[in-house]
């Protein structure tokens, strides 16, 4: 098959004699490239150029404004290794990954399975709206509500605790609870998107399979285990990969608005550290070095998932 394809590249056989120049043929051959060119240009300008430029800047001491960039070699990288604040941000980064990835992957799956049986009911639409609406609410707006809920002296959560005889908790200013507050808010904010993906995947499972299994006497659990879940594993895998990639971005808004990285930097993850370096401290070289590290760490994590998880995915 490969051989045939190679021989017919450009719509003509490789054994045919060469013909003269033809505008028609040029147009035919160049059309696919022209059609994908806008997308390639956009990707190049907004993804690959920044990536390479960041890598370049990571070898300089610069603040975007000074006319001269000072070449510092690997200093921005070696400095990070000695930086206690960078190491602390790595700790928080791992906590977010370990805590949020299972939550963001499995909780929406569970909710989707609960909603699926009532798909014909109007209630499912109401649940979808309730669960998805946080995704589209601006963090600045949501933060007002969450700050009120978490307020240690006037907040809803502590009022409930005190009513039940418990003592007050400093939710956002205690290092043991603040990171979980960020995780809760980030989950609330992002769960709706993955839920929609799972619902769409369940919708796409052919009804024939379910019907045939039911006729053969399979119970609800057997259908779930042997038919539904295997058939939605491509979506499950997609959600897993994209969640691992984006989880530390997802918490950025909650960190920024609720804790500003505190208390005592305990909620500062690597993305927030990058933001602080670049846009609070104006250390563009150091921020670029962090971004390069984030890039390679993300590629590595993604590769691990493809290497060890993808083999369990059923592509149908």
């Amino acid at each position: 098959m490969d051989t045939v394809r190679k021989q017919t590249v450009g719509g003509m056989s490789a054994t045919q004699p060469r013909r003269g120049f033809s505008w028609y043929r040029l147009r035919e051959q160049s059309m696919p490239y022209l059609l994908v060119a806008p997308l390639l240009i956009l990707i190049g300008v907004f993804i690959y150029y920044p990536l390479f430029y960041s890598s370049y800047l990571s070898f300089f001491d610069w603040n975007f404004v000074r006319p001269d960039k000072d070449f510092v070699g690997w200093d921005n990288y070696t400095r990070l290794l000695d930086e206690p604040r960078f190491r602390r941000s790595l700790n928080a980064t791992w906590i977010y990954i370990v805590a949020l990835v299972p939550i963001q992957v499995f909780l929406p799956l569970g909710l989707a399975l609960l909603l699926w049986p009532i798909r014909k009911s109007r209630m499912q639409g109401a649940y979808r709206v309730m669960l998805f609406s946080p995704t589209v609410i601006a963090f600045s707006v949501a933060a007002v509500m969450w700050l009120w809920i978490f307020n240690p002296l006037q907040g809803l959560l502590n009022h409930i605790l005190i009513d039940f005889g418990y003592s007050r908790v400093n939710w956002l200013s205690d290092r043991d609870t603040a990171i979980w507050c960020v995780i809760i808010v980030a989950t609330w904010k992002t769960i709706g998107f993955n839920l929609l993906l799972y619902l769409a995947a369940l919708e796409a499972v052919p009804g024939d399979y379910i019907e045939a299994a039911s006729l053969d006497g399979a119970n609800h659990w057997q259908i779930m285990k042997s038919i539904r879940f295997p058939l939605i594993t491509p979506t499950f895998f997609f959600v897993l990969v994209t969640t691992v990639i984006s989880v530390n971005d997802d918490v950025f808004g909650a960190i920024n608005v609720l804790t500003d990285g505190g208390p005592f930097e305990s909620t500062t993850n690597i993305v927030y550290y990058l933001y602080q370096q670049g846009f609070r401290y104006f250390q563009i070289g150091a921020a670029s070095a962090v971004s390069v590290i984030v890039f390679f760490a993300t590629v590595l994590l993604t590769w691990v998932q493809f290497r060890f998880v993808e083999k369990h995915v059923h592509y149908g």
């Binding site: 960041s54 404004v65 000695d82 609720l258 505190g262 993305v271 846009f279 984030v294 890039f295 592509y315």
Partner: protein
């Protein structure tokens, strides 16, 4: 099928990862290039002034225009040569971010409000223009209206870096109704840290066990006043970070003890002011610049006090605030910026500005807001300059120290250990 999906997903993953990796440069590349900062409008030279006063510091938007906007409008109405466009990108950090992004894009704002603590960075990193150069022969006449002890606060290497516009210091605010209910006399209570601690224990009795005192954001700022008032220093005359002295440790221990007694509100920045305004705490330490907003917002009788002292030791409060720096690169823009600064420093302009709650940095005899007396007591005693963090990583050093202050005060780390770690970490940053 498997192969195709793998390729697609790898591609998608790589693309997203690349996007993550390129956050910094993407933001740089996408920095504001839409509008040139300089545009002609009729005969007037148009300049941009970035400031923070869309919302009063720590407060909520007011129905009336902020005095900063009133000042700009008054200037524009009387100037035949210059039109000032005031913009409020956000807080100090956000304002500097916006200014820096615009500078990187070639749209240099003529005037930017710049925190005093960033004075070194303004010179070394952002290229602020000394006012002697901007004002030329007029400089001495115009700056003759600035108090001598204030003038020195915005000078670096003998040059005036900016106009001392937002001049403030931290003071104590208290809920006079709660203190009266607790039967404590404010004058006695706020005299020393010892009497304050004792008084707060009494006040806690009428607060249902709530913490009594909240110390506002940027904790390195009040910490400087506390440390200095006990004979310590944050940065010495040689530019060394020296907070690990016995005097500093004793001062920091005072707040840690207040926390250990359950009197200190550990809430995050966004929570402290609402807790005070809502009557959940009784004392709030914040900038005198918050006075106008607090008078408007609180439903109780508001009192103010200077910082307590450590026994008989003199109080050495830290000044603070921000200066208007001239960053314009072109002569016409600089000349227009100077026109505005002249108006802002005139008696007419400064009278408008004084409605805010900031302190009078000039020699004009202007009325003060009720409650500002506490700040003027500290000013008359000789305000010291807010810590001017040296080097290109000044902001990082300030935030790092502020984090240690928070940790020590909240007993997250011991005083001695915290101060030693702070010195080690901050010294590594400022070099």
């Amino acid at each position: 099928m498997n192969e195709i999906s793998r390729r697609k997903l790898v591609g998608a993953g790589a693309a997203v990862a690349a996007g993550l990796g390129g956050i910094t440069a993407a933001s740089a590349a996408g920095a504001n290039r839409s509008q040139p900062a300089v545009r002609a409008q009729g005969e007037k030279e148009e300049i941009t002034f970035y400031h923070i006063w869309g919302t009063p510091p720590g407060g909520t938007p007011s129905d009336s225009k902020h005095p900063a906007e009133q000042l700009i409008e008054a200037f524009n109405a009387q100037s035949t040569t210059t039109q000032v466009n005031g913009q409020t990108p956000g807080n100090y950090f956000e304002t500097l971010q916006k200014a820096q992004a615009d500078m990187a894009a070639g749209n240099v704002p003529a005037l930017v409000i710049t925190p005093w603590s960033n004075i070194h960075y303004a010179v070394e990193g952002l290229g602020v223009v000394p006012l002697e150069e901007v004002g030329g022969d007029e400089f001495e006449t115009v700056f003759g209206n600035v108090k001598e002890n204030v003038r020195s606060l915005v000078q670096l290497d003998g040059q005036t870096v900016g106009m001392p516009f937002a001049f403030s210091c931290p003071i104590f605010y208290y809920n006079a109704d709660i203190l009266a209910e607790a039967g404590v006399d404010p004058d006695t209570m706020f005299a020393t840290w010892e009497s304050l601690t004792e008084g707060m224990k009494t006040v806690q009795g009428v607060l249902d066990g709530n913490p009594v005192i909240g110390i506002s954001y940027n904790k390195d700022w009040p910490a400087q006043t506390i440390i200095q008032s006990n004979g310590g220093r944050v940065i010495n005359d040689d530019g060394e970070f020296v907070v690990d002295s016995p005097e500093s440790a004793e001062a920091m221990q005072t707040i840690a003890d207040i926390d250990a007694a359950g009197l200190y509100d550990r809430g995050v920045s966004a929570e402290l002011r609402p807790s005070f305004v809502g009557g959940s705490t009784a004392i709030f330490v914040g900038s005198v610049a918050s006075l106008g907003g607090l008078i408007r917002d609180v439903p109780f009788t508001l009192g103010t006090s200077p910082f307590p002292t450590f026994g008989d030791k003199p109080r050495k409060a830290s000044s603070g605030g921000s200066f208007i720096g001239v960053y314009a690169r072109e002569d016409a823009q600089r000349a227009a910026a100077w026109e505005f600064l002249k108006f802002a420093l005139s008696e007419e302009g400064y009278k408008i500005w004084m409605q805010t709650g900031y302190l009078n940095a000039t020699t004009y005899d202007l009325p003060i807001l009720e409650g500002q007396e506490a700040a003027y007591v500290q000013l008359d005693e000789g305000l010291t300059s807010e810590t001017q963090w040296p080097g290109a990583r000044a902001a990082e050093a300030q935030v790092t120290w502020g984090t240690y202050v928070e940790r020590i005060w909240a007993n997250d780390i011991g005083v001695e250990e915290g101060l030693q770690e702070a010195v080690s970490e901050v010294e590594a940053i400022i070099g």
